[in-house]
């Protein structure tokens, strides 16, 4: 209920102001007077018969009878005619809704115990695109890949739609309220996902206060929160590290994929800031990554050391010993001689150094990092006091819970946003324990593994459908504002559930959130005004957690207790998947089709290992295959292995990953899901089955089902839930398993595609990127004249005349030094441009539809063995990895345009290479002639049978393509035209940054810059004048409008002797005849 600022007599009285009264009884507030006041008329005033004893019908009875007669007459009459249905425009237009013009609402996405600040684009009440909130201190307009994909979770056709009871069938919310009332005082356990929501925490306290027998356990499906435990070990209380990489000169990661893990948006931005080099005089940080799997962070490293996760603590100890931190002891001696240890020690002594340890590392290593940061971090790592209670290892809490559930010590279990049947350690036998629990209530988005065993299941509202709140990673308070009513009536949010459990009453989420704010006094001034401002902004500024002075340096951990890995023992590391996370995104088709940032595998779970390990296990590898496995017909056919740990076995196809440490296997979570859907999947009939080539990935059922069916990596985790299993058995089960990848080839073949140099080489030769190929003309890099220069502007061209579009000339730059390949842009593009998902079979046939793809290449220092499959061990080297976002380059001399027989692809006056879908007949000649191969063809009608709910995710500003037509990146032409129309109506020019493409908008590192290159002062023009700028395949004279900024490395000269020429750049030998 909205409270308006009206003068209330009671409020006024409280403030000592004059009292208003109508009668003496009113003034005295006599008993019974209030009851009289509530009635509009005095008693009996409306009932004539009571008043004077008249036997006739009272006025009320008369009205009743007449009303019934009129209603009957109406029913009778309406039978005579067809009912008239009028389609009417809004009689009163809702404020700010203009059909066709989207609105943007600020909200926040909770995930992993904190929120991201978002702006949601809504078309007539239908959210279609998620963007980062530009003002939010963490997001600053960017999001990670999960936030981008989360909108498809809203429109997931397999979301659970109705409340269910395992026995007893249909139930509704009222039944639940009745149930909640019976739970008062019972032994209740709430197993909840980690949350930062003040409302959830308030309701938790309220629940625990109202019911002394209730308990609250926090459970993260992704695994143990070793970071909290470790920092707690160091500081004595739970603190949260906040890394200010931009202040660091050296960054050391101990198995931490900080560019795509927790708080990735801010980390990536800060990291890119520390590497921003625009002039040769600029400095950049140096990144050391010691990791047990190849991650995007490892790809950004200047020095990457592949190492078994179990060995990394000893590496960290050696670094600490070198820096005189902690009692080094035997642990510190083990790797003291490692050259990289010595290099890190030297660098750390020279300047601000940030140490980050990943979740696979035990709390002792986390504590050690906290101590190191306190000593050499120079304040670059802040420790935030989140005000949370002391963290307990969730493995222990869960073990205890599972035991109690079995014995009947728990009357009721409430599970909020968790799926323990799927991801709890199998040793706990959680499923059996759950079945024995008399009452279990599950709130979740799907009828998943847990929901089916729970006695009650309540569909969970998506965050875009609910009121809520939360705190960002740094503590900034944000409100979750619904953008759409729940798609399914039964869906409820966790705060509605908790409030009902705590009070037995139903309170709207809106009121719960407002109550929290009011209770905690978060808003100052007029509440309603501040509330409205808060909703508009989406967050409250200056509500960050307090920083703890002096960091978290305290006691160092107990490294002595860690066991040195046994030589030759096969280690298994369970990680959250970069796409599925812990399984929350498993049923998200965009995420399933999104290529893994490193392996480029889609629609599958794989077990990554090094080539040497695969060879040792006798896994079928073909000579010359360096990644994935044997390549046949462009697809990877690989062996399936059974990985067994303590009686649990999962079966996964092998993926041979260059740069992976030996004797270690990386498996990721989120596969092997079993969801049940309430969606009606219609039977297609015999004819359709025979003749319709079905193209819809949703047709067979939930998309997550059957993917990595026996590959639930969570099953391998030990009873304590640790991610690193020191020893596992592995055996080949079968051969010839097809893995669908989007990139078969990882080498640049010596071609100048991603151009790269070390910082020293760059300083010595500023023009290294341009010099990589024979220059095609005399234009210096300082100038970037488009072909439509001064003398040849489109307005001067009679074909274009006074076309309003020709004032701007669009161009883009992508800074390869900033891009980590996090994939957020790929999904942002998919969401913005209605890009279809085609499924594993079609991806394996090379028909994926991504307009923007992330090319990944391996670069090796040794040219004789480009992939260095040997010697990648504890002390070995690994190939470098580079990322290159690849989309339509919008060539000024576009090879695609001249070959189209029907002129379906053509050039716009503002320099865009355009596709006219209506005109396209689908000869695919343009794609053949595109040297960048960025065009995508609709081989089937991917949209014909798409579920209705999924269709709601479509952006109405972008055509949904029919089969048989070509499509490709448009530079988000719908956004350009939208902004141009606004500027045109307002009769003004356009300002730089007014148009942002979807990929640019979401990029956390600001690697992508888009704008008007005819404006010499625009950011993109300035970047085009950078000496690192180059155009890909410029020697073909395509004149791309998209330029790349060459990548730089900052290796330690101690580890890498400087070379004269950049090793990866081989010029195209236009004159060298010896190149054969």
């Amino acid at each position: 209920m909205i409270e308006l600022d009206i003068l209330s007599p009671s409020d006024v009285a409280a403030d000592g102001q004059p009292t208003f009264w109508r009668s003496r009884s009113d003034l005295r507030n006599a008993a019974g007077h209030q009851a009289i006041l509530k009635n509009e008329f005095h008693p009996g005033a409306t009932d004539r018969s009571e008043l004077d004893g008249d036997p006739g019908p009272s006025r009320r009875s008369f009205m009743k009878i007449m009303g019934a007669s009129m209603a009957l007459a109406g029913v009778g009459l309406s039978g005579c005619r067809r009912p008239v249905e009028n389609v009417l425009p809004y009689a009163r237009k809702p404020e700010e809704i203009v059909p066709g013009i989207p609105n943007f609402y600020a909200t926040a996405m909770p995930m992993g115990g904190y929120v991201q600040g978002l702006l949601v684009e809504s078309h007539e009440g239908r959210p279609t695109k998620i963007e980062g909130n530009p003002e939010h201190p963490i997001n600053r307009g960017a999001t990670d890949v999960f936030a981008q994909a989360s909108i498809l979770n809203l429109y997931d056709p397999d979301r659970s739609r109705r409340m269910r009871r395992r026995e007893g069938g249909e139930v509704n919310w009222n039944d639940f309220i009745t149930l909640a009332r019976t739970l008062r005082g019972r032994r209740l356990v709430v197993l909840a996902e980690p949350t930062s929501s003040p409302t959830v925490l308030r309701l938790r306290d309220q629940l625990l206060a109202a019911n002394p027998n209730a308990r609250w356990i926090t459970y993260r499906g992704a695994g143990e929160d070793t970071v909290s435990l470790g920092v707690q070990e160091a500081a004595g209380r739970p603190l949260r590290p906040l890394y200010r990489f931009s202040q660091a000169q050296t960054i050391v990661s101990f198995d931490a994929d900080f560019l795509s893990g927790e708080n990735a948006v801010m980390n990536a931005r800060e990291y890119a800031e520390s590497r921003r080099v625009l002039e040769p005089t600029d400095t950049m940080s140096r990144l050391y990554v010691i990791e047990s799997a190849y991650t995007p962070t490892g790809g950004m490293a200047d020095h990457r050391v592949p190492m078994k996760a179990g060995s990394i603590p000893f590496f960290a100890a050696a670094v600490a010993a070198g820096l005189g931190v902690g009692e080094a002891g035997a642990a510190g001696q083990l790797m003291a001689a490692h050259p990289v240890v010595q290099a890190i020690v030297e660098d750390a002594q020279a300047g601000t150094t940030v140490f980050v340890a990943g979740p696979t590392q035990p709390p002792a290593v986390q504590a050690l990092c906290a101590r190191l940061n306190a000593q050499v971090g120079g304040g670059a790592v802040q420790y935030l006091d989140t005000g949370a209670e002391a963290a307990v290892p969730q493995g222990l809490a869960l073990q205890q819970l599972a035991r109690e559930l079995g014995t009947g010590a728990v009357d009721a279990l409430v599970m909020i946003g968790v799926n323990p049947v799927y991801d709890a350690p199998p040793a706990l036998r959680f499923a059996e324990a759950l079945e024995r629990t008399p009452l279990s209530i599950h709130l979740g988005p799907h009828l998943d593994e847990t929901a089916r065993l729970a006695t009650w299941h309540i569909p969970r509202a998506h965050y875009l459908e609910q009121w809520g709140d939360g705190r960002a990673y740094d503590g900034t308070y944000s409100v979750i504002q619904p953008v759409i009513a729940p798609l399914y009536e039964d869906a409820h949010s966790e705060i509605e559930l908790l409030s009902t459990l705590a009070t037995g009453e139903v309170t709207a989420g809106y009121d719960l959130v407002r109550e929290t704010i009011r209770e905690q006094g978060l808003l100052s001034g007029s509440f309603e005004d501040a509330w409205r401002t808060l909703l508009h902004n989406g967050f409250l500024p200056n509500t960050q957690y307090a920083t703890v002075a002096g960091g978290a340096g305290g006691a160092t951990g107990s490294l002595a207790r860690l066991l040195v890995p046994v030589e030759g023992a096969l280690e298994v590391v369970v990680r959250p998947d970069p796409k599925m996370h812990d399984g929350f995104f498993s049923n998200n088709a965009w995420m399933q089709e999104l290529p893994d940032p490193v392996t480029k595998v889609t629609w599958d779970a794989v077990a990554q290992m090094s080539a040497a390990t695969a060879a040792r296990l006798d896994i079928d590898t073909v000579e010359g295959s360096f990644e994935g496995g044997p390549v046949e017909a462009g697809n990877v056919y690989t062996s399936v292995v059974a990985i067994s740990v303590g009686g649990q076995t999962v079966e996964l196809p092998v993926w041979i990953q260059p740069g992976h440490p030996d004797d270690s296997v990386t498996v990721t979570m989120g596969f092997g899901r079993e969801l049940e859907t309430e969606r009606l999947i219609e039977d297609r009939g015999l004819l359709a089955r025979l003749f319709d080539k079905d193209a819809d990935v949703y047709r067979p059922g939930p998309v997550a089902n059957g993917i990595g069916a026996k590959g639930n990596a969570a099953l391998l985790r030990g009873a304590d839930g640790s991610a690193v299993i020191p020893a596992a058995e592995i055996a080949v089960v079968s051969d010839g398993y097809l893995v669908a990848t989007t990139q078969d080839h990882g080498s640049m073949e010596g071609r100048p595609i991603v151009r790269m140099a070390t910082l020293d080489e760059y300083r010595a030769d500023e023009d290294f990127a341009r010099d990589a190929v024979e220059p095609i003309d005399d234009v210096p890099w300082q100038a970037y004249p488009p072909i439509w220069g001064e003398e040849n502007t489109p307005p001067a061209d009679p074909r274009f005349g006074e076309a309003m579009y020709s004032d701007q000339q669009w161009g883009m730059t992508i800074d390869l030094n900033a891009c980590s390949g996090c994939n957020a842009c790929v999904v942002a593009c998919q969401s913005e441009n209605n890009i279809m998902v085609v499924g594993k079979d079609q991806v394996s046939r090379g028909r994926e539809m991504h307009w923007l793809r992330m090319d990944r290449y391996y670069v090796s220092e040794r040219t004789d063995d480009p992939f260095e499959t040997e010697g990648v061990g504890e002390f070995g080297h690994s190939p470098m990895m580079v990322m290159q976002p690849m989309m339509c380059q919008h060539c000024e001399y576009a090879p695609c345009e001249s070959v189209c027989p029907v002129a379906a692809t053509s050039h716009s006056p503002d320099g865009l290479n355009e596709m006219t879908y209506n005109r396209c007949i689908g000869t695919r000649y343009c794609s053949n002639n595109c040297p960048y191969k960025v065009r995508r063809f609709n081989f089937y009608n991917w949209t014909k049978t798409l579920p209705l709910t999924t269709q709601m995710a479509m952006n109405p500003d972008v055509t949904v393509r029919f089969r048989g037509v070509m499509e490709k990146c448009t530079f988000c032409v719908q956004r350009i035209r939208g902004a141009q129309h606004v500027a045109h109506i307002e009769n003004r020019g356009m300002s730089d940054g007014e148009v942002q493409t979807a990929c640019q908008q979401t990029c956390p590192t600001n690697a992508i810059v888009f704008g008007d290159i005819s404006d010499p002062d625009s950011r993109v023009s300035q970047l085009k004048r950078n000496s690192r700028r180059y155009e890909l395949l410029e020697e073909l004279l395509t004149k791309p409008r998209l330029s790349y900024l060459a990548r730089l490395r900052n290796p330690n000269p101690r580890l890498e002797a400087p070379r004269r020429k950049p090793e990866t750049v081989q010029p195209v030998p236009t004159h060298d005849l010896d190149e054969a």
């Binding site: 462009g634 080839h745 090379g846 028909r847 070959v899 695919r924 995508r936 081989f939 005849l1073």
Partner: protein, 509 residues
């Protein structure tokens, strides 16, 4: 070229030279068996007049089955989308374009034999030109299916035609695909006209025979199609002129159509396609495959239809020589491409050709090299040139090799071009195979109908090259080089009705 009145009957007396010396029929190698005009008429006409043999029905049923396969495969593709084929990104063109170029290439032999050899006075062409031209037409029909149906939206294929429309949109004249549309359709039209004009005298013969046999309906149909041919001097003169003009028109088309088809590749910037050698090399390849296909068909047809005297071993040998020459040209082009790739110094080009010979499609490349360059070298030996078995096998391997040539060009160039990230592999699907097989169904359906209802040998023209057509001994040898027998002295040019324009020119030279 000369012919005689179609009703001419009876056996000539043995011809003699001017010196009175008898001309031995052995001298005249073009047509064997000392056939009279009537023999030739009978020999050819009989096959369209006799009761349809069971063998034809069997063959036709098989062909119809293939045609139905084609229909169903195409219907399935149009209903579902191009995805039923193996095409992908980067290999946007797969089997359909391979098949298109292959069929168009085959369609070269007929018009080449009819037009170019006619202009070059190669009189031996008369025995095979009719069937070869028919083969051309049917091959072009098969070819046209593929570019039409390979597009994503076949129902708007008319956008490629310059039809005035409310959108004020013309096709894009810069695109080689549009040039293709024009080149192939013009070639098809002119070839059809040329073939039909050449048929007129023979249709007249069939009509007259039908009248004689009392088959009224047949006579009416033949009468309709023979356009009132009477064999009058006036008809002959017009006919000869028209034929010469059409031959003149068709000749550049033979060269242009495959040059234009090669532009589809040569105009692009794909390494392995972007090659100036393509037009001549494609034309040579087309002639190569076309002759091989004629060879395949004729070896069978002359046996089945007892035409060994008309289509003699000499004819076959001459075609083998052409196969040898064009095969070697094509092989030379393959090697030149490698040289140019190396010489250009462009890494992308160099890689494209290395990849072609040693990459994932090396198997296809070496099939192509063996079939096109190596096997035809056997024809240097006369014994091989004249061996029916050898030439039949080589005619088949040539067409396999030429199919693989197009496959290698289309697939191996596209599958690995500039950016290694987009590299992929192409594998055909069942529907690729069915469509290709189906196109043979269409081809053989049409060809069997032709064999059944149309004189498969140009009766009038064959008669023109028999010794009997040259009673005054201005004979021309079957090798096309007119010469006089030893001791021959020139006499006055005879004014005979069957003198042809060509022979007129002969004499003027």
């Amino acid at each position: 070229m000369a012919t005689t009145a179609t009703t001419h009957a009876g056996r000539h007396d043995s011809p003699t030279h001017a010196s009175g010396e008898h001309v031995l029929l052995a001298d005249e190698e073009l047509i064997k068996g000392n056939l009279s005009f009537h023999d030739i008429t009978e020999l050819v006409s009989y096959h369209s007049e006799k009761k349809t043999p069971l063998g034809w029905y069997l063959a036709f049923s098989a062909a119809l089955l293939g045609l139905m396969t084609l229909g169903l495969a195409l219907a399935y593709q149009v209903w579902n989308g191009v995805g039923v084929w193996g095409n992908n990104i980067p290999v946007g063109w797969g089997w359909p374009i391979v098949n298109f170029v292959w069929w168009v290439g085959i369609g070269h032999a007929g018009t080449l034999i009819s037009a170019i050899l006619f202009l070059f006075r190669q009189r031996w062409r008369t025995s095979i030109n009719r069937a070869a031209e028919a083969m051309t037409l049917f091959a072009v029909a098969c070819a046209l299916i593929f570019p039409t149906f390979h597009v994503g939206r076949v129902w708007v294929i008319y956008y490629t035609l310059p039809i005035p429309n409310q959108m004020l949109m013309w096709p894009q004249f810069k695109s080689p695909l549009l040039w293709d549309v024009f080149a192939v359709s013009i070639y098809g039209t002119v070839s059809l006209l040329f073939w039909y004009v050449g048929l007129l005298p023979d249709l007249g013969t069939l009509r007259d025979r039908a009248v004689a046999q009392g088959r009224t309906l047949r006579a009416k149909i033949m009468g309709f199609f023979s356009l009132g041919w009477t064999g009058s001097n006036r008809h002959w003169r017009h006919y000869e002129k028209a034929y010469l003009i059409l031959a003149g028109l068709a000749t550049p088309l033979v060269l242009s159509v495959h040059s234009v088809v090669s532009f589809d590749f040569a105009v692009s910037i794909v390494p392995g396609w972007h090659t100036t050698i393509f037009p001549p090399y494609f034309v040579a390849g087309a002639i190569f495959s076309g002759f091989a296909m004629v060879q395949t068909l004729m070896i069978v047809a002359r046996k089945v239809y007892n035409l060994e005297n008309i289509i003699t071993l000499d004819h076959l040998e001459k075609m083998n020589v052409i196969i040898l020459v064009t095969g070697t040209i094509v092989g030379f082009a393959y090697i030149t491409e490698f040289f140019i790739a190396w010489y250009s110094g462009v890494t992308y080009e160099q890689f494209a050709f290395q990849n072609r010979a040693f990459g994932p499609y090396a198997w296809a490349y070496w099939i192509m090299m063996s079939c096109n360059l190596i096997f035809p070298q056997l024809f240097w030996l006369k014994k091989m040139r004249r061996s029916i078995a050898v030439m039949f096998v080589i005619s088949i391997t040539t067409n396999i090799g030429m199919w693989f040539e197009r496959f290698v060009i289309v697939t191996s160039s596209l599958h690995r071009d500039y950016l290694p990230s987009s590299w992929d592999y192409f594998s055909p699907t069942l529907f690729d195979v069915l469509t290709y097989i189906g196109s043979f169904g269409l081809f053989f359906t049409l060809f069997l109908l032709f064999l059944r209802f149309v004189p498969m040998v140009a009766i009038a023209e064959v008669k023109g090259v028999t010794p009997q057509a040259d009673p005054h001994f201005y004979h021309t040898h079957g090798d096309g080089h007119g010469h006089r027998a030893a001791g021959d002295t020139p006499v006055a040019v005879p004014q005979v009705a069957y003198r042809t324009a060509a022979s007129e020119q002969d004499n003027e030279v």
